[in-house]
């Protein structure tokens, strides 16, 4: 097994068909197949092109503000009395979440393809904001598809996107959340495929998206690994990240995959509790199937219809998950766990009050689990949590839940 878990082993996915073991692939209508092939060919060339890498790194340094710090949450770690918890501060990125790492990369691809129009789907609105931001900077027309339900609960981000010059398209079909926003973005892409670049916001969708989003987000893990070695002289014992589609998680995990001593936990949205069926935890409670261009774990019924999901956090409210996570689950490299709405809300308040860091509700799921995990570990051990985003966007939701009118 050790031999199989070499860096080469993890670098072997996706294969040329875009498969991660049985997962991934290109399950889309014929009209999109050529666009995907073009994107794949361009990315294959550019990812080996030092000029492109330099352009990407320069933007990350001067526009996003990387490297993001690795911060030791001393007060909470002391109180728990278990493992020390370190936060990889993606909340300090420009636009307030990890999402921008990926939109910078894809915007560069759009520029190289000469596309003048970009589209994006968004749940929490962070990816929408990050897409609108790079579009503003490059002078591209930008349309963001967002479930009507999410337009309501992420009103602040909707206004941010509009200020940035993007058109926000509320999606009223199906469950009116992220899944339906992605359907609508795919419909738009099929219609305007010649002029349009689709900036997918997570490690889902058809090949090559899960691969290129992973590559762009892996800067998180590369920095964290180096920062751990510099600061602590060793690698951490565990990594924790929330999993919606899985981009912040894969970004942190990927560079550590061959490091056998590093345990990894992907935290899905438990909603009202995985046992209630009202959740968004396909890896914890789903079955393999095909949606949005790839084969992966899904929340679905016995007839293959996709189920409605529930999570307090719009960014995790998705019935699927990136195909690489499906594979990492099956091979046992990453443990997928869950945190419920109430645990996430409690963590939101605790971390805000005790560390002065207000996490996004998505991120709060990772923090809630990290607290549990740390308590079972010893003070010599280290946990790195991906602090994927800041919580400003969520204050209206939190206030409403707490019965406060602003």
């Amino acid at each position: 097994m050790t031999e199989m878990r070499s860096p080469e082993f993890f670098a072997s996915v996706p294969d040329p068909q875009g498969r991660f073991g049985p997962y991934g692939g290109k399950f889309v209508a014929e009209t999109l197949m050529t666009a995907l092939a073009d994107l794949e060919a361009l990315y294959r060339d550019l990812s080996k092109d030092p000029d492109f890498q330099r352009e990407f790194d320069t933007d990350l340094a001067h526009y996003v503000g990387r490297p993001s710090p690795l911060y030791e949450a001393a007060r909470i770690s002391d109180e728990i009395g278990g493992a020390r918890i370190f936060l990889k501060r993606e909340d300090l990125n420009h636009t307030g979440a990890h999402k921008v790492n990926n939109t910078i990369g894809q915007a560069l691809l759009a520029k190289h393809m000469g596309k003048k129009r970009v589209i994006a789907e968004t749940g929490a609105g962070q990816h929408g904001v990050a897409s609108a931001t790079v579009a503003a900077r490059l002078g591209l027309e930008c349309h963001v598809f967002m479930g009507a339900e999410d337009v309501k609960r992420q009103a602040l981000n909707v206004y941010r996107m509009k200020l940035l010059g993007a058109e926000v398209v509320p999606v009223t079909s199906g469950s009116r959340t992220l899944k339906d926003a992605m359907n609508e973005a795919l419909r738009d892409w099929v219609t305007y495929v010649d002029s349009t670049f689709y900036i997918i916001g997570t490690v889902a969708g058809p090949h090559p998206y899960p691969m290129l989003v992973r590559d762009f987000q892996s800067v998180i893990g590369r920095e964290a690994r180096r920062q751990c070695l510099e600061r602590n002289g060793r690698l951490p014992d565990a990594l924790v990240a929330c999993v919606g589609g899985g981009s912040n998680a894969i970004g942190l995990f990927h560079p550590f995959l061959p490091d056998e001593g590093v345990a990894m936990y992907g935290v899905e949205a438990g909603g009202h509790g995985v046992e209630t069926g009202e959740h968004a935890a396909p890896l914890s409670a789903g079955t393999p199937g095909v949606l949005h261009g790839n084969r992966t774990y899904l929340m679905q019924d016995e007839n293959g219809q996709i189920l409605h999901t529930h999570s307090v956090s719009a960014g995790l409210d998705y019935p699927g998950v990136g195909p690489e996570h499906a594979w990492l689950k099956d091979i046992g490299r990453v443990q997928y766990v869950s945190a419920n709405d109430d645990e996430a809300l409690a963590a939101f308040h605790r971390w805000t009050r005790m560390e002065g860091i207000m996490p996004a509700l998505e991120t709060a799921h990772a923090l809630a689990y990290a607290e549990r995990l740390a308590a079972d570990m010893s003070p010599e051990q280290h946990i790195v949590v991906n602090l994927s985003g800041r919580g400003d966007k969520d204050i209206l939701t939190v206030a409403a839940i707490d019965g406060i009118e602003l």
């Binding site: 009209t31 079909s173 419909r187 199937g289 293959g304």
Partner: protein, 275 residues
């Protein structure tokens, strides 16, 4: 010879083009579908395309999306759809039935049991929108074992070398998606269709039917002038939905859909052959 092959052969001998209505199984009601299929055949349909409702129909425009939603509200599953084909076959053993849908319900049922069930109930062909040639192999193998055609889509974005690969593994007929876009989009350009059709015809002797963007006798007639058949979906489904929305009965909705199909049949037949 399969039902599809003999259907196209007969049409060719008669110098006619195929009229292929698409309806969503279970829309507007569970028990209306099989009678509707028979009436469509009586009104001139050569092949019936039966849509399998799916929660996330990514290639459909708003009209067919709503059809899927209504069918799901009526509790229709893939097994129910196959049951409808079985019922249809009790009174019609000659009209080909093509099932069209998305991959996940088929994946969930399992490729082998799906193929076996299709053969048992009398399905002739399958179109799976999100199973392009790159992903369809294992399903197609199962279908081949039981003699069911896997029908491939070709679109205006499919480059010529890819057309050649696609037609190599195709059988039944080729479905040319005439517009870049979702179903029900309204900008079919007949000249474009004609020139693209030439490229497909150079690559295969299989019949080529055109769908997406055909909504009336005129557009169907224009397409029939350059292709072997015309698929009409959104227009029929919209006609039924509008009738019901305006307080009409399901019977009236069906009557209106049937008149539309008849006029499309006329539009297709009035085209002089050899154009």
């Amino acid at each position: 010879m399969t039902r599809l092959t003999s259907c196209f052969e007969r049409l060719k001998n008669e110098g006619r083009k195929a009229v292929i209505p698409y309806i969503v199984a279970g829309d507007p009601s569970r028990f209306g579908t099989v009678p509707l299929m028979h009436r469509l055949v009586d009104a001139g349909a050569d092949i019936v395309e039966l849509g399998v409702p799916f929660s996330d129909p990514m290639s459909e425009g708003p009209v067919i999306q709503k059809g899927h939603e209504r069918a799901l509200d009526n509790g229709i599953s893939l097994r129910d759809v196959l049951g409808m084909v079985a019922d249809f076959r009790q009174h019609d053993s000659s009209t080909p039935v093509v099932v069209m849908g998305y991959a996940n319900p088929v994946e969930r049922m399992g490729y082998a049991s799906f193929a076996t069930a299709c053969a048992e109930v009398g399905v002739d062909g399958l179109i799976t929108v999100d199973l392009p040639p790159e992903e369809v192999d294992s399903l197609r193998d199962q279908l081949e074992l039981v003699g069911i055609d896997n029908i491939f889509l070709i679109s205006p974005t499919t480059p010529e070398p890819r057309i050649k690969t696609i037609v190599q593994s195709a059988s039944g007929f080729i479905y040319y998606v005439a517009v870049k876009g979702v179903t029900g989009a309204g900008h079919l350009d007949t000249a474009d269709v004609a020139s693209y059709m030439t490229k497909i015809k150079e690559a295969t002797t299989l019949p080529v039917c055109v769908g997406f963007g055909i909504k009336d006798a005129a557009s169907a007639g224009a397409v029939a002038g350059v292709a072997d058949g015309a698929v009409v979906g959104s227009a029929l489904i919209d006609t039924m939905a509008q009738t019901i929305a305006n307080g009409g009965s399901e019977e009236l909705a069906t009557d209106n859909a049937i008149s539309l199909l008849k006029s499309i049949r006329n539009g297709v037949d009035n085209v002089p052959t050899g154009v």
